[in-house]
Symmetry: D2
């Protein structure tokens, strides 16, 4: 287990604290009685904030976590005989312990993506089974922005993908656990990479960007939205003391806190990449576009390094590892880490 008392963790952006402004909002709301299950004024305000940011024509539902947001959001889009097209690297494919299959009962169609990004041509190849009852019917494309590999779809790539999908009667789901990092990196608004490109359902991430807990399911499609509240409840994602999720998001969307946090995490990743790319024996394997740095290094080096900093292997077969940065890191955290990397390298 990570030695907790000193040093930052590069294992995940959810190893970070709750941003002080979020904590402040939680403390502030902690007075008086308040209706539960989202029928309170704080939830109303949070929803308004989202509408200001993403447009008035959306439906907004607060949930607990990313698994919950992805699985219940997707559950509103498909029935069991339909299939969800995604990248082989997608969190819903490899990191949810089969929650989509259990809760939705449908098949995923994972496609290989060296950089985590799906392309229209790939999706097209799955469509020949449409109409044939022996086969799960492809109905939703699920993409991740930023991807699990730290890469980012450009606005044009998103548009091309959703256009292709819609022309082929497919809906588009976006896993936005790190959507803030994507918008920060592309230097566009959140709306430009969601509403404006035609996303149908979005998991909007909060936890990895400074919240204590809380993600949001945004439905851009009124027909899908009408029954989502039942799916959230069935998905065990309806919080009773909802005000404590609501005020976190209200704070996150105020004064560009979401953007500042994301920028800081991204900047730290760039800094880290710029330092390690010069270290012989370390190879950066993916473009560093958000807050993750993927590298290969000798196993011995990794093992040595992990004695001081906890982080995960990504692809053990090729000796690839993942380093995540977070909003609460500062330059000296990166430099400290780089020093340890250098030491480890020098030992072998």
């Amino acid at each position: 287990m990570m030695s907790e008392r000193y040093r930052r963790s590069f294992a995940s952006d959810n190893n970070a604290i709750v941003h002080p402004k979020i904590m402040e909002a939680l403390n502030k709301v902690n007075t008086g009685h308040c209706l539960s299950y989202g029928e309170d004024s704080h939830t109303e305000k949070a929803i308004e904030k989202f509408k200001e940011v993403l447009g008035q024509e959306i439906d907004v539902y607060l949930v607990y976590n990313g698994t919950g947001a992805n699985v219940t959001g997707l559950a509103s889009m498909v029935t069991p005989y339909q299939a969800i097209i995604c990248s082989e690297a997608a969190h819903i494919n490899v990191d949810e312990c089969g929650a989509p299959q259990r809760f939705i009962g449908c098949r995923l169609l994972p496609l290989p993506t060296p950089d985590g990004k799906l392309r229209p041509e790939q999706i097209e190849s799955t469509l020949s089974v449409i109409g044939v009852e022996h086969h799960s019917q492809p109905s939703v494309v699920s993409i991740t922005q930023s991807t699990e590999l730290g890469t980012i779809y450009s606005v044009k790539e998103l548009k091309d993908l959703t256009d292709f999908a819609h022309r082929n009667n497919l809906l588009v789901h976006m896993d936005g656990a790190r959507i803030a990092n994507a918008a920060a990196s592309l230097n566009v608004s959140l709306k430009e990479i969601t509403t404006d490109v035609g996303i149908d359902v979005l998991s909007f991430g909060g936890t990895k960007n400074g919240l204590m807990f809380g993600e949001v399911v945004i439905l851009f499609n009124k027909k899908l939205a009408q029954d989502y509240k039942y799916t959230r409840k069935q998905g065990m994602q309806l919080a009773s003391k909802m005000r404590y999720i609501a005020v976190q998001f209200e704070a996150l969307l105020s004064d560009d806190l979401w953007l500042k946090n994301a920028k800081q995490a991204n900047t730290m990743a760039k800094l880290l990449a710029s330092k390690v790319e010069k270290i012989p024996g370390i190879e950066i394997t993916q473009p560093v576009e958000s807050n993750g740095v993927f590298v290969t290094m000798p196993a011995d080096v990794a093992k040595r390094l992990q004695q001081e900093y906890f982080f995960y292997p990504w692809n053990e077969e090729i000796g690839e590892y993942r380093w995540m940065t977070s909003f609460d890191m500062e330059e000296h955290d990166i430099l400290d880490f780089v020093d340890v990397v250098k030491q480890a390298i020098s030992l072998f």
Copy 2:
């Protein structure tokens, strides 16, 4: 919607705030990086606390909410062809939007219980189908303590029920969303109504007793426990920043905070009952043993009252309503409410 700016709500104990000591714990832990998903020292400490309270031979898993605790806990006990025996009034039967059926895929066998409490004789009547493949196989008895009707199983009733169940190869699940209120009311330890009576799986409630969010699945049965972690993950109940659930429970179990909160809520219910039982036109329908008061009153009175205080009808056919008290109510809150009740009664 409840007028939020003044007065307490008698709608639910989850309309209350987060207890200041819980909030303090959250503020205090908000520093430094920490492994996620429960691999941190705070989660370890919370688990230790539970073992001190309920015995060393338990497995402890923190989850988000009551639906999650009940459904994933039950999912560890049954397979889809098995059935869960419960009261018709059980939360899992009427208030989870069918989450058990969706996530577990099994049948519930609800039995009528005027006071919310199951009895061995009732359970026996369901067992004639054992071994016959045309019928769902009764395998788990799920009870609620305190019940949905504010009543409480005595230690002897619990023991008789679990003994009967175990003799008949049935496991026993306890929905303990308000278990603290039960222990406080019976004046016994938490262990005496769980571990000592032979409960197999317990949903231990936190949210209704002063937490921001967080419930716990306690498994007293090592065989059930071994794979529960996968079910929690699939059930979308694995929190990434787990320390923020852990420290809440650590605080709740320290200095008898759980007991003080429960006692206060119970005392307020007793006070409320003692006042309204004298009001003509109001009839108390259930023994007031925990923090709920169930009453019948004329529809006009209820309507008038609900203009000032939000609360739910329980059984509309007989004009029955539910008033819940919570740990953050004080004597004057009750007396204020009773005054308004009296005024409403006097109008009709």
Copy 3:
């Protein structure tokens, strides 16, 4: 186990043989190659037959058995957060080992029905939860015609029920495992108790009325029908050598074979009832309207009788038993049985 070598069984109408005309059709079709999965001319002809009988605006899908017809038919009508209203005695509630819950993931709302027949007022009482996300949403009414208790809905009762349902946005499913017996008893066409009263989805029974195997899902609602074929496949009910189901139904619907078979079974039940109602100690508990006779008798008598004829207890608490007649019984079969009943009674 029943002594098979002599005597008819009164346990179930599925203890009967395959009607010789059905067998003849099977033998006749057994030549040459033929496309599988229903893309053959025999399936086409069977579908045409059903359209002649029930109207052109239907969709017809052949399946293996009654569980399959009911569960996949219902699966086309509800999503997991919706609920299916049915009688407590409904086959889908008590005799499918929880298959609806597992395959559909939804809740059943069983209502008490002394005679197996649901009434609009009962259904109304379940609708107060509509729109409230804590509760499964009632969406389908499932009725059985003839009922599990051998009773029959009149045309007017059916019309009132479906009208009420549709006015309340509920769809109506009919479990017609014994629909032929109902039409024969009411002396109406099959269309008058299905298409004409507004049934949305029908399980049309074949096996209990002389087939080897085979039931049919009839969808009267184009919107529900459009995706049913995928649900049939997922429900493991798509037969590869479909011609062998198709020709059975073609034969059943030809020359009124379905009606002759049903009439014979009904007549035998009437005969049986007329004989046993005079025997002291035997009490008929339900109107004998189709091919079942429900009686109470002393346990010792039943036990003695079961040594020679196999049949099932229906309600052990009150000593109630079920006797089913079938198309391949003749007068002497009934009289033989009545003799044995008389002997058994005389012994105690």
Copy 4:
């Protein structure tokens, strides 16, 4: 659609008739009443036959079809958080419309297999996630014998695979829809490629080898077997008039009918392959070891050919097609087809 009135179909072995001896058995059993749901003497005899063939220590359950056998058999082996390792070409992966995901709720882990055969090394690569709750836990290896590509695992390959699996706490499922073809091709008994190599659960195919309908789930593992009957019922695979499946299998296992049928189909495939391998423009893509011949040919040729004989494309990207032979084909059927192939080739 295939012109049904003349010529054999090479689309699938389920386009064939019911073998006359099977039909004879069905006609013969069609007399007298008989208990339903498998409690009759015919089912008992069929089970005994299977025990003679595969060993006494097995449990035998008759079901309707291959989807049902595979999905309910697998359902007895895994829970939703576990994963089933299979070939990308596996029928359960691509041809069941997601039935395993819906009924079991678990994830499949398909691995690429050029010849349809899984190898231990491939399986090993999936095991690094064991014990980590974020990932579905690999628990079952499902193989197909003969494979979907017409190839066959040798006895040694099977033994190596099951040994590897068992050493790694994985169970082994065999989809034996065409197991007879495999035994015939390997010139071994059915027992040598199932019981003796350590298969845990087997889907034993009947329909493709001359039955009207009927497959069998064989459980070699007593622990898995104890509750399978409930899963069969829930899986809508419990036939009421079971005698009509039972006698088909009794006949199939008598006088080596299963073997004669399989040999004939295999021989016809060999003959077909020997003829077409000499035709320029046609390339055989898989070893012809059972009753399938996989070929590539120009699209125009295929289109021309399909005007007279129906068959399916296998891999449209490379112009690959599948031709299946069946037990009711004779030499002249093959030669006729080869003539048409030659004509088609000569046109382009």
